[in-house]
C-alpha cells in the first residue's frame, strides 16, 4: 500500500447529522481517557474497552478452523468443475528478446488439447510511455519466465507437454540482471525509453513523474524542512551504506484461477487478496459490465501482497474459457510463481543522519537504489520518513530496471529494507551520543503508543539481560540483544460493505465480498454479530469471498479489519433495530421500548421480563430482516494514526562458523482495538518469522551469464523452517483511537516483518561490536563482515 494513499476526506461526513459521543482513547493501564467525537446519528452505541465485552476482544476459535484442519476447505486450486480444462503457460526461457514468431500448430495437434492462446497484451511490469519506440506484434520479453502463450487440455500433463511444443522464435537482445551493472551508463537498456508502472490495489508501483536515465528511473525526491541546515546544526553525523536482497513471496498456494465463461456471466474462482480487484480488472480487460463478472474466493492460501487483480493467469484462463466453451483452471507451478508474479525489491541505501549532543535528531537523508525487475516500486523511504518525524528530511528513491520479473507489493512494501538501515543507524547514533537505544528513541519519537511499548520493553527480563557493552562475550559464540521499531499507517478502504440478516428461527448471517487471506476476518465478523445478538460465533453464518455479496475491501496494506469491521457492526446494529421493530407488536410494546443486549430483548419500561433473542425472533412479523451498511468515514480523519511496535531480538553469533542463531523475540505491538488477540498474535508471530527468514536466508539468485533464476524452487530458495525459528513472545498493547464503531485496525504489515532484520542487525552489533549492513546475513556475509572490521579486543 502506497504510504501516500489519501485519508477519507472529512467533507464526505460533514453533511450527515451528527451526535456527540464519548469514546475510550489511549492505552489501558497507561494513558486511557475519554475523548469526544462527533459521529453520524446512525452509528451504533460506543463499544467499551475489550475487558467489558463478551465476544469482541476475546479469542474464540478461528471460524473456519474445522474446515482447515479437516481438509474440507475448498481453495481455488481445489476447484473441479464438470468438463474443466487444465491450462499451462508456455514461458520465455530467455531474459530479453523480441518475439519474432510463435508457432502453436504442434501444440494444437496433441490429443486432448482444446485451446491455445497467444498473449498479445501482457499484464505486469512497467510500460513504455512511448510505445512506438518498440514495434512488435507480441510483447517484448523482458525476463526469463515471462508468459508467452497458454495451452488448455483435458489433463494437466497433456497441457504441460503441449506447452513445451509451442515454438517461439526469439530475436535476442542484450540483457542485464545485476543491479550494479544495470546502473552503468553502458548497460543494456531494459526499456528503450521512459517507462512507468502503476501500483496494484495492494500498493507497490513507483513514482511516475520522475526522470529516467538508462535503467535508472528516478530519483523521486521528497523533502521535509531543510535537511542541509539540519546537518549543519548537527554535532554528530552518521552515514553508512546498507544493501538488501530480493525476497520472493512464495505463498503456499500459487497464483491462479478457475474461469468459467458463459454468455451472460463470467465466473472466476481466484486465489486473490481482492475479489473486488479481480472483478474490476476482468470487467475492464474484457469490456464486460461488472454485473456480468462474478469472483469467488472462499479459501485462499496466502498472498502477502502479490495477489491483486486477475494478472496474466486470470485473463488468459478467462480467454481460454471463452475460446473453448469450457471452464479452465490455470494455477501456476512453483517455478512460475517465483519468476513471474512478484517479489520484494532489493535495496542499496546510503543513509545519513545528524543529531545534536542533547539527542535532538536534526536531519535524515536517504539515497536509495533498488530493483523491482522490469517494474518499479523499490522505494524504501517509509521508515526514514515516518518513524522519527521531528527531523528534517531529504530522500531520493531510484528504481533500477533489470531483466527480471516485476516486483509486487510485499508485506509492508519498502519498510523492512528501510528499517534495516534506519534502525541500525539510530542505534549507531545513540552510541555516539552515549545514550541507550531506548533512551534515544524516547527523545526522538513522540508517539504515545510507541512510548508505552518502549516502557514495556525496558521492564522486560530480556532487555534487562542485555549487556550494554558490545562484544562482551569472550568465547567464539557471542550473545547479543538488539531492538527495532516499526511503523505502519491507518489506511481505510471506503468500498467496504456488509449485509446482516436475521431470520425468524433466530439464526443470523453476515455477507460481504471480502476475502479471508488467512488473517481471520471471518472469525472477527462472527464475533461482531455475536456481540450484537448474543449468538456464539460458531453459530453465526459468515458468507464471504463472493462478489454476489456487498463489496468488500481488497486485503492489502492492513486495511481489511480497519475498513470492514465498522460496516459489519453498523449493519448488525441496524439489523437489530429492524428486528426490534419486527417483534415489538407481538411483544405488546413499541420498538423504542426495546433493547437487544447480551442475547436478550429487554423492555426499558419494565413492560415485560427479558426474553431470549431466539425466542423473540420467533415472534418476528416477517421471515427475515436485513440491513446493509457501508463504511462511514473515520470519526476524526484529521487525526492520522500510525501503528507499530518495538521488537527485541536475542541472538547468538558463531563467529567461527559465521552462523547467526536467532534465539528469541520479545515483541510489543499495537493495532488499535485488537478484535481477536489470538489471531493478531498469530500474525505477529508470522511477521517475525518471515522477517527472520528475510534477514538470514531468503535470496533470489539470478545468473548473470544466462539471465535465469537459479533457485526457482523451494529446495534452493531457503525459507526459515521449524528448526530455524526463534522462541516468540508477543505482547499486545490495546490502543483505542476513537475512529470508528469498532475502533479496530489491521496488523499484517506492522507485524514484525518490518523490524525483524533491523533488530537482528542491532543484536549482531551488541554481540560482536561490528555492524552488519547486508542481508541475507549468511555465513559468508557474517564472516566477511567480521573479517573487515577493525580488530577489537574482547572485554
Amino acid at each position: 500500500m502506497a504510504t501516500t494513499k489519501s485519508h477519507p476526506a472529512a467533507d464526505a461526513a460533514n453533511s450527515t447529522p451528527k451526535k456527540t459521543v464519548k469514546m475510550p482513547y489511549g492505552v489501558p493501564g497507561y494513558t486511557l481517557q475519554d475523548v469526544e467525537r462527533q459521529v453520524p446519528t446512525t452509528e451504533p452505541p460506543v463499544l467499551p474497552v475489550n475487558a467489558d465485552l463478551e465476544y469482541i476482544g476475546k479469542s474464540p476459535k478461528r471460524w473456519d478452523a474445522h474446515a482447515k484442519v479437516s481438509g474440507s476447505g475448498r481453495y481455488t486450486a481445489d476447484i473441479q468443475l464438470p468438463g474443466m480444462l487444465y491450462a499451462k503457460f508456455a514461458s520465455s526461457n530467455v531474459p530479453h528478446a523480441k518475439v519474432v514468431s510463435i508457432d502453436t500448430s504442434a501444440a494444437e495437434k496433441v490429443p486432448g488439447v482444446k485451446g491455445v492462446f497467444v498473449i498479445e497484451n501482457l499484464l505486469g511490469g512497467a510500460r513504455l510511455l512511448n510505445p512506438s519506440l518498440e514495434v512488435s506484434r507480441y510483447p517484448i520479453v523482458r525476463y526469463a519466465g515471462q508468459p508467452i502463450a497458454a495451452v488448455a487440455a483435458t489433463q494437466p500433463h497433456i497441457a504441460e507437454e503441449a506447452a513445451l511444443l509451442v515454438k517461439v522464435q526469439y530475436a535476442p537482445k542484450p540483457f542485464v540482471v545485476d543491479m550494479e551493472m544495470a546502473r552503468q551508463s553502458d548497460a543494456p537498456p531494459v526499456f528503450p525509453g521512459p517507462a512507468n508502472q502503476g501500483g496494484s490495489a495492494g500498493g507497490g508501483g513507483g513514482a511516475s513523474d520522475v526522470p529516467q536515465t538508462g535503467n535508472i528511473h528516478g530519483p523521486a525526491v521528497h523533502k521535509r524542512g531543510d535537511a542541509e541546515q539540519g546537518f549543519k546544526d548537527a554535532d554528530f553525523i552518521v552515514e553508512s551504506k546498507y544493501t538488501t536482497q530480493v525476497q520472493v513471496h512464495n505463498a503456499l498456494e500459487t497464483h491462479g484461477v478457475v474461469a468459467d465463461w458463459k454468455p451472460d456471466l463470467l465466473t472466476v474462482w481466484a486465489s486473490t487478496q481482492g475479489t473486488a480487484s479481480v472483478r474490476e480488472e476482468l470487467a475492464s480487460f474484457f469490456k464486460l459490465p461488472k454485473s456480468q463478472v462474478r469472483v469467488i474466493t472462499e479459501f485462499m492460501g496466502g498472498g502477502f501482497g502479490a495477489k491483486f487483480g486477475p494478472g496474466n493467469p486470470g485473463v488468459v484462463a478467462a480467454a481460454l474459457s471463452k475460446q473453448t466453451g469450457a471452464p479452465v483452471r490455470l494455477m501456476l507451478d512453483r517455478k512460475e510463481e517465483q519468476l513471474s508474479v512478484g517479489n520484494r525489491p532489493s535495496s542499496d541505501q546510503t543513509l545519513k543522519i545528524g543529531a545534536k549532543k542533547d539527542g535532538t535528531l536534526t536531519a535524515i537523508q536517504l539515497i536509495s537504489f533498488g530493483t523491482a525487475g522490469c517494474g518499479t516500486g523499490a522505494g524504501c523511504a517509509g521508515p526514514a520518513t515516518n518513524l522519527y518525524q521531528s527531523a528534517s528530511l531529504h530522500t531520493e528513491e531510484n528504481d533500477v530496471f533489470i531483466n527480471a520479473g516485476p516486483a509486487a507489493a510485499f508485506r509492508a512494501p519498502g519498510h523492512p529494507q528501510g528499517a534495516f538501515a534506519l534502525e541500525q543507524t539510530i542505534d549507531e547514533m545513540a552510541e555516539k551520543l552515549n545514550m541507550q537505544p531506548l533512551e534515544f528513541r524516547d527523545k526522538i519519537d513522540a508517539n504515545p503508543v510507541r512510548r508505552v511499548e518502549r516502557q514495556i520493553i525496558r521492564e522486560s527480563a530480556l532487555w534487562k539481560s542485555r549487556n550494554p557493552v558490545p562484544n562482551a562475550d569472550r568465547g567464539p559464540i557471542k550473545r547479543g540483544v538488539g531492538l527495532s521499531q516499526s511503523v505502519w499507517y491507518r489506511h481505510i478502504e471506503m468500498d467496504s460493505a456488509a449485509e446482516v440478516r436475521v431470520h425468524r428461527d433466530g439464526s443470523v448471517e453476515v455477507l460481504s465480498a471480502v476475502q479471508d487471506i488467512g488473517t481471520g476476518i471471518k472469525t472477527v465478523m462472527a464475533q461482531i454479530l455475536s456481540e450484537q445478538f448474543g449468538v456464539p460465533p460458531q453459530q453465526v453464518s459468515v458468507k464471504i469471498g463472493d462478489t454476489n455479496y456487498p463489496v468488500g475491501p481488497n486485503s492489502g496494506g492492513s486495511v481489511t479489519t480497519a475498513s470492514l469491521t465498522p460496516a459489519v457492526r453498523d449493519a448488525a446494529w441496524q439489523a437489530a433495530q429492524k428486528f426490534l421493530v419486527s417483534v415489538a407488536p407481538a411483544l405488546g410494546t413499541t420498538p423504542d421500548d426495546l433493547v437487544l443486549t447480551k442475547g436478550e430483548v429487554h423492555s426499558k419500561s419494565g413492560h415485560m421480563q427479558p426474553i431470549g433473542f431466539r425466542r423473540a425472533a420467533a415472534k418476528m412479523d416477517t421471515s427475515e430482516v436485513s440491513a446493509q451498511a457501508r463504511r462511514v468515514p473515520d470519526y476524526d480523519p484529521k487525526h492520522y494514526d500510525t501503528y507499530g511496535g518495538v521488537d527485541v531480538a536475542e541472538i547468538e553469533v558463531d563467529t567461527e562458523m559465521g552462523i547467526i542463531h536467532v534465539k528469541r523475540f520479545f515483541a510489543v505491538h499495537d493495532c488499535g482495538r485488537p478484535m481477536n488477540p489470538s489471531q493478531v498474535i498469530n500474525q505477529i508471530n508470522g511477521g517475525l518469522i518471515q522477517g527472520t527468514s528475510y534477514a538470514l536466508y531468503e535470496n533470489r539468485l539470478l545468473d548473470p551469464t544466462y539471465g535465469l533464476m537459479v533457485n526457482a524452487n523451494l529446495d534452493q530458495y531457503k525459507i526459515a523452517g521449524a528448526r530455524d525459528i526463534p522462541q516468540l513472545h508477543v505482547q499486545l498493547v490495546e490502543s483505542y483511537i476513537g475512529q470508528s464503531s469498532t475502533d479496530a485496525s489491521g496488523i499484517g504489515e506492522a507485524a514484525g516483518i518490518i523490524s525483524a532484520a533491523a533488530a537482528i542487525g542491532n543484536a549482531f552489533y551488541n554481540a560482536t561490536g561490528v555492524r552488519i549492513r547486508s542481508t541475507p546475513m549468511t555465513p559468508a556475509v557474517v564472516l566477511e563482515t567480521l573479517s573487515k572490521a577493525p580488530q577489537r579486543s574482547n572485554a
Binding site: 507437454e161 507451478d333 517455478k335
Partner: protein, 245 residues
C-alpha cells in the same frame, strides 16, 4: 527435508521418484519437442512402471526400456504396465477405490484429481515443502513424489480420513484450540506429519516436533502454535503459553 519423508524404500524398490525429481528445471524449453524434455512424468512415462519392479538400472549397463522390460519378462515373469491408463486399486482411508489411471500418476494426483479428495495440497511438487503429506501405513510420505502404484497394498490415510466417527483427531482438535493455522494451506500436511510423529513417539519434546515438521513449510509462520498444539495433543504441555493475551 526431514528424515522419514521419503517414500518407503526398504521393501519397495520401485520408488523411482527420488531419482528424477531434480530434473524438472530443464523442462521449460519452448523450442524442444516434449519427448526430449526431461520431466519427471515424461521420464516415468518413457520408462514404464513395473508393478513389483526391481531397480530400473541394473549393474553398470544401461538397458533400453524394451531390453529392461524383456529381461524382466524373461527372468521374473513381471508384467509391464503403461503408458496407457490401467486399473489401480488403492486403499484410502479404509475404503478401497479402483481408479483408471496412467502408471505415472502420482499419489497426490490420484487423490486430488481422480478421487476428488482435495484436502491434500500440492505446493512445490518436488518434495521440500511436504504440503502434500499423507500416511502410507503409519509413515508420512510426500504424495507428490510417490507414485500411486507404489501405494498399492498400503493403507493410505489422508487428512479427510483422520477423523473417526465425526470426531476430530486429537492433533486436529489441538490445532483448532491453539489456532495453529492462518491461511490453512500447509495445515493438512502439518496435521498428517504431527499425527505420524505421535504414533511413533507419544511423548515428544518441542525439539522432536521441530525435527518432525522440519520439512513442512508454513509461509504464514504459525510454527509456535503448531509446536504447542502437537505437544498438547500428546498430553505434554508446551514451554510457553500460546494464548498469551
Amino acid at each position: 527435508m526431514s528424515g522419514p519423508k521419503f517414500p518407503p524404500q526398504a521393501d519397495d524398490p520401485s520408488s523411482f521418484a527420488t531419482q528424477s525429481s531434480d530434473a524438472t528445471e530443464t523442462s521449460q524449453a519452448n523450442d524442444r519437442p516434449a519427448t526430449k524434455g526431461i520431466t519427471r512424468r515424461g521420464f516415468l512415462k518413457g520408462a514404464g512402471v513395473a508393478a513389483a519392479g526391481t531397480a530400473l538400472l541394473e549393474g553398470a549397463q544401461v538397458f533400453t526400456r524394451e531390453a529392461v522390460a524383456a529381461t524382466r519378462r524373461e527372468h521374473d515373469g513381471v508384467k509391464e504396465f503403461g503408458p496407457g491408463a490401467i486399473p489401480v486399486a488403492l486403499l484410502v482411508n479404509g475404503k478401497e477405490h479402483t481408479l483408471q489411471i496412467e502408471p505415472r500418476t502420482t499419489l497426490a494426483d490420484a487423490l486430488r484429481v481422480h478421487l476428488g479428495m482435495t484436502g491434500t495440497k500440492v505446493v512445490c511438487d518436488r518434495g521440500p515443502c511436504s504440503g502434500c503429506t499423507v500416511l502410507m501405513d503409519d509413515m508420512p510420505v510426500n504424495s507428490c513424489m510417490t507414485l500411486a502404484m507404489d501405494a498399492i497394498g498400503h493403507q493410505v490415510t489422508t487428512i479427510e480420513g483422520l477423523q473417526s466417527e465425526g470426531e476430530l483427531h486429537p492433533v486436529q482438535a489441538a490445532f483448532v484450540k491453539h489456532d495453529a493455522m492462518q491461511c490453512g494451506f500447509c495445515t493438512p500436511g502439518m496435521v498428517m506429519t504431527c499425527s505420524a510423529l505421535l504414533k511413533k513417539n507419544s511423548h515428544p519434546t518441542e525439539d522432536d516436533v521441530r525435527q518432525a515438521t522440519a520439512g513442512n513449510l508454513c509461509r504464514c509462520g504459525t510454527y509456535p502454535r503448531i509446536f504447542a498444539a502437537t505437544l498438547e495433543a500428546a498430553g505434554v504441555s508446551g514451554k510457553e503459553s500460546i494464548r498469551n493475551a
